[in-house]
């Protein structure tokens, strides 16, 4: 199902969702933080794109820009486009954006307890959008809410629909939020660290549920996470982010077999393993750069073992590494060959 972005996409219809060269700045008292520096990715129907990165890499900000829920100010979009079925959302009216939100693109968040409103029942929060956006009566909306809770496998849905978020366990709250995001039948679902706050057995349940719903509805799924394990289990394609840039795009098997960027390679190396008690872990020396002061050249060069003079001066752009693979490293070809 994974159609590689680029030429194939241009000839037929436009991709379902396309982020193209997005720049976002946060104008703060301490200066201008360059949070996104030309981020591009695409998602098609029925496809899972994983956006992998550590805290501060810009993965959540990209999602917020897509949803139009950035805090403005301090955030300012300074360049690029976000196209949904070919339409640039950044140029669309606020009414149109509201329409696309939830009906076109929906989002679920990491912390379900703070994403849900504690003073309304779970049912009310699902029904509200059905009544406002689809003009359903209270009764119709309640029936649909129960169906949705059933769909995400919440037991005793007719009783649960009348309960408040605090009466749900962590895993159930995440299910309720998934139900809510599906209410208006979106084409694209953005899941921002959906299982990070959950225990591993519950995480497995939620990831199964997401994968199943996505396959059934042929949704495009953008999975934002820092967990290399979760990504390996579900992703078709992966975009790795570092300091507000995409450093590598690849399909999942190739990325894990032969990482095309030193950052991805180092990240995989620093992972403790379940199947053996290793000796010392490989680490990435130093810290991610401050976004207020991103180093010139490749932003990863101060921490990179392969860095040369070229890396300190020239910003690497996408090096093609075969079908649908790119890497923002001057020495990507050497790296892939050496692994």
């Amino acid at each position: 199902m994974t159609m590689s972005s680029g030429e194939a996409g241009l000839l037929s219809e436009p991709p379902l969702l396309e982020v193209d060269g997005l720049f976002v700045e946060f104008r703060t008292r301490d200066g201008v933080a360059r949070v996104l520096n030309g981020v591009s990715y695409t998602v098609d129907a029925g496809e899972t794109l994983a956006v992998l990165g550590e805290s501060g890499s810009g993965k959540s900000v990209t999602a917020q820009a897509i949803m139009g829920i950035l805090d403005v100010p301090p955030a300012v979009v300074t360049g690029g486009e976000i196209r949904y079925r070919g339409e640039n959302l950044l140029a669309a009216s606020e009414e149109r954006r509201t329409e696309v939100r939830a009906q076109g693109i929906a989002m679920i968040f990491q912390d379900a307890l703070s994403a849900l409103n504690p003073v309304f029942t779970v049912g009310f929060q699902i029904e509200e959008q059905l009544r406002v956006r689809l003009g359903m009566t209270r009764k119709e909306a309640r029936a649909r809410a129960v169906e949705l809770l059933d769909l995400v496998r919440i037991p005793h849905a007719t009783r649960r629909v009348r309960q408040y978020p605090h009466e749900f366990s962590g895993g159930m709250r995440q299910r309720a939020m998934i139900a809510m995001s599906l209410a208006l039948d979106p084409d694209v679902l953005i899941a921002d660290e959906p299982t990070t706050a959950l225990d591993v057995t519950v995480q497995a349940q939620i990831m199964d549920l997401l994968a199943e719903i996505q396959a059934e509805r042929r949704m495009g799924l953008i999975l934002i996470t820092h967990d290399l394990g979760v990504v390996a289990e579900v992703a078709d394609r992966i975009s790795v982010m570092y300091a507000g840039r995409i450093v590598e795009h690849a399909d999942a098997p190739s990325l894990y077999r032969r990482p095309g960027h030193p950052y991805t390679a180092a990240l995989m190396d620093s992972l403790p393993r379940l199947d053996l008690k290793g000796a010392e872990l490989n680490t990435i020396k130093g810290l991610p750069p401050s976004l207020l002061n991103i180093p010139p050249g490749c932003p990863f060069h101060p921490r990179c073992l392969m860095a040369q003079d070229l890396c300190r001066t020239d910003v690497p752009t996408g090096h093609r590494l075969g079908l649908g693979r790119t890497s923002a490293c001057h020495f990507a070809e050497e790296l892939v060959r050496s692994v």
């Binding site: 550590e54 057995t201 995989m268 620093s270 992972l271 403790p272 872990l281 680490t283 810290l287």
Partner: protein, 337 residues
């Protein structure tokens, strides 16, 4: 390691229980039940050893840490530190105990006082235990400690907010090391950190252990992290130990169904094994520790459960296998690919 196993354990915990009362009412408070956070836990910790404690949220692993730190009194049970009853200690002996057992907390953002400089935070233990460092030598000691944990000693006068998460966790570790403890309880020390930073802190913990001969109780929910650092591992479920053994026994030869399910649910960072791995899917959530199931506490989610599991509670005993497991039907099954 092998010689030290023969000597007396530094910490001996037996049948440790901690219940918290659930109280309701405004004027006339009364107790309607108890949260059985820790409900009969026993283990030994040897000198220079790391005991990993894994389990999901609510299994009682952090309460265990608090009781071992003597921050909470136990409901019943005993713990001996170097052969002496920890919970009977008073006065000078208790002060010595507090020096010997230290803790590193999970959240480096809330566990450091934002109004104190790093020097004051790391040096504060010396104010309470002045016998460890006479007044004149403190600043030199603090610099040493910062150096040991890989921070720049010149940053003594900075405040916590000027440091990143990983650096703050190093400050917390320096503070724990200040009094030259024998045992450090690490309560989820790396779970708030990014992968690349997590590896740095794990390496530091391993290095400090071999340099100072520390014993760790390493509490975490991440099974890969625990395996990496632990010599022995205890798996907890609803306040009890389900299975305990060496790192190899637990990960490569698990016999308790809960351990097997837990291990099989960990996502593996290799897309080529996708769909081929056998994953044991548990249904439902962990039951409430206020009213745990009768008999075996895991039976409500267990695929092996029989009548006997509801009637009698399985003891943590060696059932043919090489290590103790609290299951009537304990049977080895390899789940880690």
């Amino acid at each position: 390691m092998s010689e030290s196993l023969a000597t007396e354990p530094i910490l001996q915990v037996r049948d440790l229980v901690k219940h918290f009362p659930v109280r309701v009412g405004v004027l006339f408070k009364h107790t309607i039940g108890h949260v059985r956070a820790v409900d009969g836990v026993s283990f030994d910790l040897h000198r220079g050893e790391t005991l990993g404690v894994v389990g999901e949220s609510g299994c009682g692993k952090s309460t265990l840490a608090q009781v071992l730190m003597r921050l909470e009194p136990p409901t019943s049970g005993s713990a001996r530190f170097q052969g002496r009853d920890m919970f009977a200690m008073r006065g000078a002996e208790l002060r010595r105990l507090r020096r010997s057992i230290q803790i590193v907390l999970q959240d480096p953002y809330t566990s450091l006082n934002p109004r104190m400089t790093v020097g004051d935070i790391v040096g504060e233990p010396f104010e309470i235990h002045p016998e460890v460092a006479p007044k004149g030598s403190r600043s030199a000691k603090v610099r040493d400690l910062l150096d040991v944990v890989g921070l720049n000693p010149e940053h003594l006068n900075r405040y916590p907010h000027q440091f990143s998460g990983g650096q703050r966790q190093r400050i917390g570790i320096a503070r724990a090391l200040a009094l030259r403890p024998d045992v450090i309880i690490c309560d989820e020390p790396v779970s708030a950190l990014d992968v690349s930073i997590q590896a740095q802190v794990m390496n530091l913990l391993a290095e400090l252990q071999s340099d100072f001969g520390l014993s760790y109780v390493f509490i975490a929910h991440d099974l890969s992290v625990v395996r990496h650092l632990s010599d022995r591992v205890a798996v907890m479920y609803l306040g009890k130990i389900a299975e305990i053994g060496t790192e190899d026994e637990i990960y490569d030869h698990p016999t308790h169904p809960y351990t097997q399910a837990l291990l099989s649910a960990v996502p593996v960072a290799d897309p080529t094994v996708r769909g081929q791995r056998q994953v044991i899917r548990l249904e439902g959530d962990v039951p409430s520790p206020v009213d745990p199931p009768s008999g075996c506490r895991f039976r409500t989610r267990c695929w092996k459960a029989q009548e006997i599991c509801a009637e009698s509670e399985p003891e943590l005993a060696t059932r043919g296998a090489g290590h103790p497991s609290a299951c009537h039907f304990a049977e080895e099954r390899s789940v880690v690919p």
